[in-house]
Symmetry: C2
Subunit: 150 residues, 2 copies
Amino acid sequence: MDVALAAGSAWTDPACPVARTVDLIGDRWSLLIIRDAMDGATTFTEFLQRLGIARNILTDRLRKLVEHGILDKSAAADGRRHTYRLTEAGLDLFTAVVALRQWGERHAFAPDESHSVLVDDQGRELPELHPLSRDGAPLSAEASHVRKIA
Amino acid sequence: MDVALAAGSAWTDPACPVARTVDLIGDRWSLLIIRDAMDGATTFTEFLQRLGIARNILTDRLRKLVEHGILDKSAAADGRRHTYRLTEAGLDLFTAVVALRQWGERHAFAPDESHSVLVDDQGRELPELHPLSRDGAPLSAEASHVRKIA
DNA sequence: TCCATTAGGTTGCAAAATGCAACCTATCTG
DNA sequence: CAGATAGGTTGCATTTTGCAACCTAATGGA
């Protein structure tokens, strides 16, 4: 777990947590790898087949995700496979994945299109996630702002 | 507001809301444009200066975000500027931005590094956002799964 | 009125990221 | 020992990104 980018790169906006997160997982594939890992994928071949990603790109993304402490790579029990598992930091992306999923459900599908659904262990859909203010009232983007560092 | 990608492109994974969202805003810049729009940026030049993005790329991203119904472009009162404002769908990305921000705060900064902070209109930091199950109990990634469409 | 400035682009070209297909090595399995 | 499986690497073409120069229209001040 390495709180840094690769040597030679730099953060797009070092003081902003949103920008750092985008630098770490904001490409076309990383978040989908994480999505599939959350849904049970563990081996190179599983990710390859589920995603339809090019092999060399998958190799690169898995390596970077391991480097950044989001995935952990270990030898599988059978000796010849490798197992990729989400670390604690990787599992903690669940909130962000759910938020992106729910936005997609609301805005990226036509009314007559169906989509996959995230359900809990009893098969029930999740309630919508929304930011709250400290006192528990719903908080909109307009009612918030970013306090820059000194 | 156009629930579709550009002509000639195709969804990476048409049935998955996470994948569709990534197709729409999952590049290096779109989410940061949205972040700055939420923090008050409205003109081409403002985005350019805040982000340090190349002009042609900004032109392209603003056009796509407008095309996808996330931003709305209009003539400003002074006649020569343009104003970009978040649509309802754009504002609805607030939850996702907050989730990505909070993950970044927890995992993308060393203990001695400081970062900008999102606060409500009374200057208070937001509580952490976490998915809940239908009955209100915290829900982890392990206790959920994706139900694919028929 | 004329000239500089501001705003919001476009264009050409170089560099980097991505994707495809072929190839490679080690390990099982029959 | 032959084939299949797993997890890569390599070379090359295509696409995307980034930089810098250029362009046009509108303003604003001397």
